[in-house]
């Protein structure tokens, strides 16, 4: 799920921006970005010191009685600029650094985190993690056992960014946004704009008692814009938002998205919704653009194939899964048609979930979650891989983690989070427009909007940003108040056309939420346009 609480929390940090950001953009119309940042003292903690601190923590955990332990020293910086109309609202730069230690004692986990980065500070956290594991032992049933993973004695990795957003001045960032706002405001009927740039930079160091020592750097960038059109008599207002995907790239990506170059079009789309035809309730063929379909993939495929959910571990919050039990699903359950191949992949360049090694030191390999429409794999960590030993044995493979362990920051324990999960292109090279041309009576949807799905991922409802009515293979006009309701396996089995390689695009979220305490994960989803036959569409417009 994408996380509303995180949005509200971030919004609170940027209180002024919230008014404009408008709490309705629940995926997280959040905030931030900024400035030519000089080197600061704490950036100068040498690599050798970090290695020593990690070694101290591991030694303290082992001497306390841990059979296994791992330690992460992380620094996370966020940078944001928010604007509305022709003014700046917020310029914020945050920086958080600390150490988290996870200890496995007699088959039970304990975790502790501290911001005190001294030999004594990290050792105290390690001892605390051990004592929490011992306290938790009282309520243990089965011991935790980890699947083997090769030690990585000296791993380094950097994500795919060419221009570090921290090298760009605040004036340049603000100017880019204000120019885009001005373009949108040229459209008659457009009254309000919220725009922002949100950057994250993470430095993660990792070590475990099996000999791995890894350091990684990642940058994420998200250009945001929401345009509001209001009718003359103030009886209606409409938004066009979620205009650009967040990506695991740098400033070069922000420039590529060219907010100013598209702002008028987005403004016109907002205004058109004021007079668009309210959708008639009924069944339609839906042609879904990748900018929309990524979220449907996220909610109805990526989440239900998390193994911890399928095994009941997330029952109290994120929920369980209809893709359960694994022994009745793997190699058997038909999720969708033959043309449906869904891949988990943490190596795709420029994606949000891409890493060199996961937060257990495992190098992730791409894996097919759905193969020709049949469930083929679950997402796993080292703890979980052994739960599927029978399946791997059957396939003549060793039980190994898929590298899906992740913690949002140093102060949270790592657990299973989704990789980039994507719908692979079809063999035939066809586009969004080709799919529309092949459709007699339908609705084409661009952009992600409202979303909600049950705790087993069966019943979902999705809105969108822009809705086009299709008649006789042509777009005949805009629609509004559109949402479709679905039952997951029925929906995917209704997919009969998908785009080819050239139509493959990424969407994604900074705020994929899961776990207790809630943690966020940034993840991308690749998709091609796809057509779904005979889907139930409702009209969400009501009179106040």
């Amino acid at each position: 799920m994408t996380d509303r609480r995180e949005f509200l929390k971030k919004s609170a940090q940027a209180a002024a921006a919230l008014a404009a950001a408008n709490a309705w953009n629940a995926t997280g119309g959040v905030a931030s970005a900024f400035a030519a940042v000089p080197t600061r003292p704490l950036e100068d903690i040498p690599d050798s010191t970090i290695r020593e601190l990690m070694a101290n923590a591991l030694t303290a955990a082992k001497s306390g009685g841990a059979g296994y332990a791992d330690v992460r020293i992380g620094r996370q910086r966020q940078n944001f600029v928010f604007t509305r109309e022709q003014q700046i609202q917020n310029v914020v730069d945050t920086d958080s650094m600390g150490c988290g230690v996870r200890a496995l004692v007699d088959g039970t986990w304990g975790f502790s985190a501290t911001r005190v980065l001294t030999a004594d500070g990290v050792a105290a956290a390690a001892r605390e993690a051990v004592s929490i594991a011992k306290a938790n032992r009282a309520a243990r049933d089965r011991p935790v056992v980890l699947a083997p993973a090769p030690a990585v004695p000296n791993g380094t990795w950097k994500s795919a960014f060419t221009v570090d957003p921290w090298s760009i001045s605040v004036e340049e960032k603000a100017a880019l946004l204000l120019k885009a706002n001005a373009e949108a405001l040229k459209v008659k009927g457009v009254k309000y704009i919220f725009s922002g740039l949100f950057f994250v930079k993470e430095e993660r160091s990792y070590a475990n008692t099996e000999g791995s020592v890894i350091s990684q750097t990642a940058v994420r960038s998200w250009p945001l814009m929401q345009i509001t059109a209001i009718s003359a008599d103030m009886s209606d207002f409409q938004n066009r938002g979620n205009v650009a995907a967040p990506m695991g790239r740098g400033w070069e990506y922000v420039l590529e998205r060219d907010l100013a170059g598209h702002a008028q079009q987005w403004g016109e789309e907002a205004v058109a919704k004021l007079t668009a035809k309210p959708v008639e309730v009924g069944r339609y063929d839906l042609v879904l653009h990748p900018s929309h379909l990524w979220l449907t993939i996220h909610e109805s495929i990526a989440h239900p194939t998390e193994l911890d959910r399928a095994m009941g571990y997330e029952a109290n919050y994120a929920g369980t899964s209809f893709v359960s039990p694994p022994e009745k699903m793997l190699g058997q359950f038909r999720y969708g048609p033959e043309i449906m191949n869904i891949q988990g992949d943490r190596s795709q360049e420029g994606c949000l979930g891409t890493v060199g090694w996961d937060d257990e030191g495992v190098k992730p390999e791409p894996f097919l979650i759905i193969k020709k429409g049949i469930v083929n794999e679950y997402q796993t960590t080292r703890e979980q891989a052994l739960w599927l030993e029978w399946w791997y044995k059957k396939q003549g493979k060793p039980a190994r983690s898929h590298g899906c362990s992740y913690a949002q920051n140093w102060d949270n324990v790592q657990f299973q989070r989704m990789p980039n999960v994507s719908l692979l292109p079809g063999d035939k090279e066809q586009s969004f427009e080709d799919l529309i041309a092949a459709t007699d009576r339908g609705i084409a949807i661009v952009g992600d909007g409202s979303f909600s799905i049950d705790q087993q991922r069966y019943n979902a409802q999705f809105g969108g940003q822009v809705f086009h009515e299709i008649k006789g293979g042509k777009i005949v006009g805009p629609l509004k108040d559109v949402a479709y309701q679905m039952r997951t396996p029925d929906f995917w089995n209704a997919m009969d056309m998908i785009g080819g390689k050239k139509s493959y695009e990424f969407g994604g979220s900074f705020f994929d939420g899961k776990g207790q305490p809630g943690q966020i994960n940034a993840v991308s989803h690749g998709a091609v346009p796809a057509r779904f036959r005979n889907i139930n569409v409702i009209n969400t417009g009501r009179k106040a």
Binding site: G312, Y313, N412
Partner: protein, 456 residues
């Protein structure tokens, strides 16, 4: 070695320590105006799944945020490094960014000294809960579940924090806050039944883990083998948690500026806002009071404005909307901040009374994955979860499959039939202590269910 608590006094800034730290930072600042915000504290949590603890951990952190202004140019930085060099670097960064930032015509000056009332938002019992205490609370739930051949999964969190704000214009605010919550989902091992119970309070000793576990077990047992019913408009009896899930959405929509700008439910057609207009049933009042012992919150806002008791809706009529300092000044209104607390009026009936008076309806334990659909009407969608039952002739007759709704709390509170006694609930989706909310169980007609779910 026995687990120590992370909430030892040294982890935590006292008023004197916080004041000394803010003075240190303010002395480093050269901007026209500077605000320093400190948040320091600890969070302890224990998760359990399928009748055993799965993870648990504690973390501590202290962050210092600096907001610098030169005229109408402002920026902020946050760091968790508290040595002089790091703090100076953070101040320098904030000032450097502020000088480069464009002017904000809406910039408001920092506040001078204010007076704050003490809020009852702190509980030593919550602050002193340690990992062993949390593990014992979990066992009080998992052991009965195991004995009942059911699987308990859940979460316990306790937070304790100190908050301080200071400006170079003489403001200093300090307060401590605790929060605790425990939520439990009990399922049949074969996935055919699911029941939930949860609670949240400032004071951990107000939460009874064993009683919550018993309730979740009973719900799970009663929810086995649910039957499908036709979606449509139903009379509903909503337990307090379900009411909290929906009514808090009104609080998130109270922004006066959005209303005045024409992009809110609280916009009046033709212009202006709905203050003074009736929007829900006359029995409904919504009040935020940070000094309410059952829904306590910090006594100040992030910019140091004193928090105050505010009546949003009184007897169905909108009395106040939230005005930030800029919008209040522009519109000639009093500053009216949002507060992390909400209480709804109620009646005297029990939940059983509400059920007994219902000829045919649906009893809802809680809602889930609640997301906005249409801000013009505060229309949200979401689903029932972990205990949904059919009421016939005043009695619960069977478990029903979960249902998706597309509904607004505004419509729901216009279709109100009856209300019970308000109680504090855990209404956050993720089981964190969340927003402090006190709401009654209610009965309402014509609640709009739009589809069925196979999810248990």
């Amino acid at each position: 070695m026995s687990p120590r608590t992370l909430f030892d006094p040294p982890q935590f800034l006292t008023r004197e320590e916080a004041e000394a730290l803010t003075k240190r930072v303010l002395a480093m600042a050269k901007a026209d105006e500077t605000r320093v915000t400190i948040i320091g504290g600890a969070r302890g949590n224990t998760r359990f799944a399928v009748n055993q603890i799965s993870t648990g951990g504690d973390n501590t952190n202290t962050t210092v945020s600096i907001r610098s202004s030169f005229g109408k140019r402002s920026a902020s930085t946050t760091t968790n490094k508290l040595d002089d060099a790091s703090l100076q670097a953070s101040v320098d960064m904030s000032e450097r960014l502020a000088k480069l930032a464009p002017e904000d015509p809406e910039a408001m000056p920092e506040l001078g000294a204010q007076t704050y009332q003490e809020s009852p938002a702190w509980s030593a019992k919550t602050a002193n809960l340690d990992p062993a205490g949390r593990a014992a609370a979990v066992r009080a739930v998992t052991e009965p579940a195991r004995a009942a051949k059911l699987a308990a999964t859940g979460y316990l969190e306790s937070d304790a924090s100190a908050h301080a704000i200071a400006t170079n214009k003489g403001l200093f605010a300090y307060a401590r806050e605790t929060g605790s919550s425990m939520t439990i989902t009990v399922r049949a091992p074969d996935g055919s039944a699911s029941g939930w119970a949860g609670a949240s309070h400032t004071d951990w000793s107000r939460i009874d883990p064993e009683a919550l576990g018993t309730r979740a077990i009973e719900k799970a047992r009663a929810s086995a083998n649910p039957v499908a019913i036709e979606p449509g408009r139903y009379t509903v009896v909503l337990e307090p948690t379900a009411v909290g899930n929906l009514v808090q959405l009104i609080a998130f929509s109270l922004n006066a500026r959005n209303a005045d700008e024409g992009r809110s439910f609280f916009t009046k057609q033709g212009g202006g806002n709905k203050i003074g207009l009736k929007v829900v049933d006359e029995r409904v009042s919504l009040v935020s009071d940070p000094f309410d012992p059952d829904a306590a919150a910090l006594p100040f806002t992030p910019d140091g404005e004193p928090a105050k008791k505010t009546t949003w809706i009184e007897n169905g009529i909108v009395r106040n909307l939230a005005y930030d300092r800029y919008w209040a000044q522009k519109q000639g209104k009093e500053v009216t901040p949002l507060v992390g607390s909400l209480r709804m009026s109620g009646g005297t009936q029990s939940l059983d009374d509400l059920i007994a008076s219902t000829q045919r309806g649906i009893l809802v334990t809680r809602f889930w994955y609640i997301r906005p659909v249409d801000p013009r009407t505060i229309l949200f969608t979401g689903l029932t979860r972990d205990g949904t039952f059919l009421i016939e002739d005043g009695k619960i007759t069977k478990a029903v499959k979960n249902l998706r709704y597309n509904e607004s709390p505004i419509f729901m509170l216009n279709n109100l039939d009856a209300m019970g006694q308000p109680v504090r609930v855990s209404a956050s989706e993720d089981g964190s202590p969340g927003f402090a909310i006190v709401v009654p169980p209610i009965k309402a007609h014509d609640f709009n269910f739009t589809s069925l779910s196979d999810a248990v």
